[in-house]
């Protein structure tokens, strides 16, 4: 009798243990699956597919081509020379004027020769909601839209593109751009002067619709 009771209790205990193990296993399996799915999603967000990379590369070539535009090169070069001796204090003063658009300071950069070249490029190549050019000091030369700052050389993207005067074309990740109001990829291209020196940097914000259109 006692043996029977003990054997029944052992059976019950085993059944409970098996049930607990199966439940636990299922729970961990589901968690592992969820974690794997989350990893796949994060990978999708972080990495650009080869097709997208190809399109971005093509667009980067377009901007590199724009960087050879005579008007842009000459205007950027002349402003670089003009601003070469500006002190930090003077630059800060100009940045403040930019914020307040004192004396239509900003408007001049939206309607100058470089700005019109950029606008024309924009019309011919849809998908670039914002393009602007800086000189070798990081100060704006011309632009399609009003940028938040006049001075860009304190930005990492500018430092990387300028590359200590060597110049480097590259693109950023897909991220939300306030001025473009959409998910975009920023393209950075140095403007090389006739002497082979970097005289400025072009930043072009490319809407992902522009990429999608090409795919």
């Amino acid at each position: 009798m006692l043996r029977k009771i003990v054997s029944e209790r052992i059976g019950l205990l085993l059944a409970v243990l098996i049930l607990a193990s199966v439940s636990g296993g299922l729970y961990f399996y589901r968690n592992a699956n969820r974690s794997a799915n989350e990893n796949v999603i994060q990978q999708t967000l972080d990495e650009l597919s080869p097709e997208v990379e190809k399109v971005v590369g093509k667009k980067l070539s377009l901007i590199e081509n724009l960087a050879t535009n005579d008007v842009i090169v000459s205007e950027t070069l002349s402003q670089s020379i003009k601003n070469a001796t500006l002190t930090t204090k003077q630059i800060e003063k100009l940045d403040e004027d930019w914020l307040t658009n004192r004396g239509g300071f900003v408007d001049g950069y939206l309607t100058n020769k470089v700005a019109f070249e950029l606008l024309e490029f924009q019309e011919l190549n849809p998908g670039f909601p914002e393009i602007f050019v800086t000189d070798s000091k990081g100060l704006n030369v011309g632009q399609t839209n009003k940028t938040s700052d006049y001075y860009q050389a304190d930005e990492k993207w500018w430092i990387d593109a300028y590359a200590d005067g060597v110049g480097k074309s590259y693109h950023g990740d897909i991220e939300y751009d306030e001025s473009a109001q959409s998910e975009s990829v920023s393209l950075y291209v140095p403007v090389i002067g006739s002497e082979g020196k970097v005289v400025g940097i072009i930043k072009a914000v490319m809407d992902i619709r522009a990429i999608e259109r090409e795919l």
Binding site: T44, L45, V55, L119, P126, E183, R209, I211, E212
Partner: protein, 521 residues
């Protein structure tokens, strides 16, 4: 031996059966419920997300056309930033349209959807968190075909719209530069007119899609309603059937297991109480009540045996009483008469005669009382029988008869008790008193399951008419006949042991008493 099935086991089996029945009903119910749930799930997972996706497509299209209207509603828009903002919103809506349209066509979890446009569409899908909200399955052929047609028209609309934005920005730039832009204006008008036509065509297709979805939803609703009605019917029928089944089962089980046997036992107890010990309770149950009925019948049988015993005792007591009144009174009367005459008689010879007669009467009285004790022992001894060495008992009895020449051969054990001593004592006493011989040969033989003890004398023998009455109550034979109880007691005792006693003639003379007793194992 048939295994006893207790009422507990039977009831457990019945409840298990009932549970099994309910389980079957439950399975049927769950099966139908699963069909409803599957349909509902299908509706939630397929139809509803598709409808919501179609709704999102419509919202996006509305956004696209809204932005176009905002950007081109008036000629006087000269601020290029307004056009850019409209274009940005336009692009967002185009992406939303593409996401939901492709999700309906391909399914939001499909690899095609994930790879679409280099993963750009799926990336947007995740960024907006739609992967957590919508699980859009690949739409059925008709719906997908309609969506493909709408998407193709939408592509045309987007292409024309992009050209319109391009032209508008060009016009504004040329205007800013003070250059002519008539050509661009003319083209813009053409493009806007084409957009209008595409919108009209899309409206028709979208109406078809909405109608298709509405019809599908209605069909689904009717289908689910039908199944729910079926499930309700099955549920109610099952409940009613279960109740009827439970009531009937409870009634018949209680009737068979409890009511019928208990009623039979009740009747049996009434019969026994009224003295009918022959009444037998017939309960066929193989459970506790069946066992109780068997016990009840055994009890009735024992009561019957005791009743018989009581009747026998009563009868014996009647005999004793009769004998006491008759024989002892006779002897006491003799003694009383002798004592009276003794007072008057002076003759010595006569006195001695009266004293001798009185002594004989006292001896008979004492003998009679001894026989009464033997008879009481024989009748009342109801104790357990046991193996008794019959030769030892005979040896003990022989010591009471020193003047007799008694020989004994053979030995065996029989089933008996202490009263067996009186059996042999009475027989040998009778031989001594009535046979006229002092020679007795006792022979003990085993015959199968019995032991035969032959007690033979070489006396005058017993007449045949006497032989048949010899063992009856109160039968007296010859002048020396005493109470007539000795051999009657012998017969009763031997029969109580399950044996018998007979008497035959001995060869060449005399009589032989044959006592047959069960052999002890």
């Amino acid at each position: 031996m048939k295994k006893l099935r207790s009422i507990q086991t039977e009831l457990t089996l019945i409840f298990l059966g009932l549970v099994g029945f309910l389980l079957i009903l439950g399975v049927i119910f769950l099966y139908n419920l699963s069909i409803v749930s599957k349909n509902f799930e299908d509706h939630i997972e397929n139809q509803m997300p598709t409808s919501l996706a179609t709704q999102q497509v419509l919202v996006a299209l509305e956004g696209v056309t809204g932005e176009l209207s905002a950007a081109f509603r008036a000629e006087d828009i000269t601020d290029i930033q307004i056009i850019r903002d409209s274009e940005a919103n336009f692009n967002k809506n185009v992406l939303n349209f593409e996401m939901f349209a492709q999700a309906v066509i391909e399914g939001s979890d499909s690899e095609n959807f994930k790879r679409l446009d280099g993963g750009i569409i799926y990336r947007e899908w995740i960024l907006h968190g739609f992967n957590n909200i919508y699980k859009i399955h690949k739409s059925d052929e008709a719906n997908a075909r309609l969506m493909v047609e709408v998407d193709a028209l939408f592509d045309k609309l987007v292409a024309k719209s992009e050209r319109a934005f391009q032209l508008k920005k060009s016009i504004l730039r040329l205007h800013e530069q003070g250059e002519t832009h008539e050509e661009q204006h003319a083209e813009l008008d053409e493009v806007l007119s084409a957009i209008k036509n595409i919108k009209t065509e899309m409206g028709g297709k979208i109406t078809q899609m909405v109608e298709f979805n509405t019809q599908t939803s209605e069909d689904q609703h009717q289908h689910v309603s039908g199944i729910i009605m079926k499930v309700e019917l099955i549920t109610y029928t099952s409940l009613i059937l279960s109740m009827i089944f439970a009531i009937m089962l409870g009634y018949f089980v209680a009737e068979k297991l409890l009511i019928i046997p208990i009623t039979k036992l009740q009747k049996g107890s009434r019969e026994i109480a009224s003295g009918n010990f022959n009444y037998e309770v017939s309960v066929e149950n193989h459970d506790e009540l069946g066992t109780l009925a068997k016990g009840f019948n055994q009890m009735a049988s024992q009561l019957k045996a005791r009743d018989i015993k009581i009747r026998e005792l009563t009868s014996t007591l009647k005999v004793l009483n009769k004998l006491l009144r008759h024989d002892l009174l006779n002897d006491l009367t003799i003694i009383q008469g002798n004592l009276e005459m003794f007072q008057d008689m002076k003759d010595k010879l006569q006195v001695e005669t009266f004293i001798g007669d009185s002594q004989s009467a006292v001896a008979r009285g004492m003998e009679f009382i001894k026989k009464m004790r033997d008879l009481e022992n024989s009748v009342l001894a109801g104790g357990e029988l046991k193996p008794v060495d019959v030769s030892k008992v005979i040896s003990t009895v022989i010591e009471n008869y020193p003047k007799m020449k008694i020989t004994t051969t053979g030995a065996a054990s029989v089933v008996a008790d202490e009263a067996i001593t009186s059996v042999f004592d009475n027989i040998i006493g009778n031989v001594q008193m009535h046979s006229g011989s002092d020679v007795v040969n006792i022979e003990v033989n085993v015959s199968g399951k019995f032991v035969n003890i032959k007690i033979a004398d070489e006396g005058k023998g017993i007449p045949d008419d006497v032989k048949v009455k010899l063992f009856t109550e109160g039968f007296k034979y010859g002048e020396t006949g005493h109470s007539g109880l000795g051999l009657y007691i012998v017969r009763m005792t031997v029969e109580r042991y399950g044996g018998s006693i007979t008497v035959t003639d001995n060869t060449p003379k005399g009589a032989v008493f044959i006592v047959r007793l069960p052999k002890a194992d």
